[in-house]
Amino acid sequence: MGPENLDQIAAAEKLRAQGMRHHICVCTAAGCQSAGSGEVKNALAREVADLGLKHTCEVKGVGCMGLCSAGPLVSVECGEDRVLYQKVKPDDAEDIVGALDGGTEVSRLVCDTRAPFFSRQMKIVLENSGRIDPERIEDYIAVGGYGALMRAITEMTPAEVVQEVIDSGLRGRGGAGYPTGLKWSTVAKANGGQQKYVICNGDEGDPGAFMDRAVLESDPHRVLEGMAIAGYAVGANHGYVYVRAEYPLAVKNLRTAIRQAERLGVLGSDIAGTRFSFRVEVRLGAGAFVCGEETALIASVEGKRGAPRPRPPYPAQEGLWGRPTLINNVETFANIAPIIRRGGDWFSGIGTGKSKGTKVFALAGSAVNTGLIEVPMGITLREIIFEIAGGIPDGRRFKAVQTGGPSGGCIPEQYLDLPVDYESLVKVGSIMGSGGMIVIDESSCMVDVAKYFMEFCMSESCGKCVPCRVGTTELHGLLSRISSGTAGARELAMLEELCEVVRNTSLCGLGQSAPNPVLSTLRYFRDEYTAHAAEGRCPAGVCKTEKEVHA
């Protein structure tokens, strides 16, 4: 296997694709699958076979196309022309296939791809998502896949690869935004000669976040390629992908991808005739939010309970089995191949001063369009919510947008013109997080939302350190009393004080960030807290307060 073999595979695959006049791409990622896309795909394939079009029309399953709220999505391509159909039912197959050769389209199903949801996005991580068949490595190679890995190991030194990533300005997409290039160079410099590891963190535990799942389901090879390039750059020959067991399709596609890549020789021993070897194993998570924290994740990969430990030493010095370990998130690895292919300078030309490139968000909650989007850093929240997401449905009013999950905060209307970058979001009391973005309208109560997240942190606390184990329980108790209208100003003051204690004294990120949803809602929606505490009333009518129960 070498660069020229890749070219051959790509050429053969392109020739095969050109032999087909039409390509019917059905989204088979989790969102559309739960809306019934599997049956739609079968119906389309049957229809194509019945009409004897098998040799001119291909029906293939592809990854996520983004607009999950309009699923199942089907894209029909003929040369340069592309029609996107939404909310397709198996019964629509006859009309869709029937319209192929007439050059017409089934107007009742057409989804306008000129809408802001599509036109305002910018795709790097998701460039292949919804276009290629995630279960065929040839499809990935045909769009240039594994070319960056070949280039890195045959034309570049490890130091040059690290430099390219430094130049790109890429920062960790898991949430904290640590400069990726800096992390790589630390691991690269760590004790030469000994065993090192690369770990891909796919323990997407934030409720309301499904970016990593979509990437792993839709384009798993991109993540493997990024990991292999990282392995070459830092001097590691073994990688682990830690994925949630709750994502069966992602696990399946990833395992298929590893098998295919090993068979083809783009992973394994002596890749492309060089002395670089790299193997990847899948490790399943088992439902513990704390395992998203890197030291807890390492413990879990070692087969132990996922309890974090104090840092330093950082995993870059002492990680998996005490060896230097590079841990990056799925989306971070997914950015690597394009950076090597197109150069760090190209990447750093996108985004803002300190936040480069794009960010994938999982849009959910009270918005017209929900699904997966990728936008350039620096876009405003208003553009995302009111243009891409199409605003709030049913004539309700916008109240807040929640980013960063249980570690993040709620951002109110007055900051909607804020650019989306790491620093700006922290300034208003939230975080970029891994990319969950939940739109909240006036029908939700912010005290209830804060209580929801605290319940989550309380249940997910690993119990190792007291401030988090006891603190989150106490905070949840206080919030419950406030929401039921049985607490007063004294409890509110205690809530604030305890938030500071838990934030400042917890061992790991889980506890340190657990108070964020409370603090940010206290900051912007204090009137709701006082309405509960002083008047025993829930303005949104969500919480059942004592007063109402008695009435």
Partner: protein, 167 residues
């Protein structure tokens, strides 16, 4: 290791072969504990004391470590599941779109709380942190079929349908 025979499975059940295959593939290494527990749960539906003892002996781990891992991770369950499983997603998007009302309705109808199984062993009510299908919130996974955008009445009638129809 020389002189140390592998322990025999707790019973002659053929499913233990799957579990043993998982351990063998991982070289009986202690770090494959979580993979092994996944394998047991996939084969039997839950983890019981016999299974934990067998895994501990096979991987040469202290029973405390095996029990610790089995109880630490939410994915593992030590109670046998009901014939049908209804998982209500309680992710953020589902929560603000009415997951609590769905849970309320199911709890009232079947008299069980999340994590419990009806006395006749027919239905288990479970919750999930987030199944990642936030676009069709609120989401319920009924016997591995994902259903979205349902109200409390609709979900109860769905569950009824599955229970009456199910074999």
């Amino acid at each position: 290791m020389i002189g140390l025979a592998r322990p025999a499975p707790p019973s002659g059940d053929k499913r233990w072969k799957i579990v043993e295959a998982t351990m063998r593939r991982n070289g009986y290494q202690g770090n494959s504990l979580i993979e092994t527990l996944h394998s047991v749960q996939e084969a039997f539906g839950f983890l019981d004391d016999d299974a934990l003892r067998f895994v501990a002996l096979s991987l040469r781990l202290p029973l405390s470590q095996v029990y610790g891992a089995a109880t630490f991770y939410h994915f593992f369950t030590m109670r046998p599941p009901g014939k049908h499983a209804c998982v209500v997603c309680t992710g953020t998007a589902c929560y603000i779109k009415g997951a609590p009302a769905l849970l309320d309705a199911l709890e009232k109808k079947y008299g069980i709380r999340p994590g419990e199984t009806t006395e006749d062993g027919e239905l288990s009510l479970l919750t999930a942190r987030c199944v990642g299908s936030c676009s069709i919130a609120p989401v319920v996974v009924l016997d591995n079929e994902v259903a979205g955008k349902l109200g409390p009445k609709e979900i109860v009638s769905r569950v009824e349908g599955v229970m009456n129809h199910g074999s």
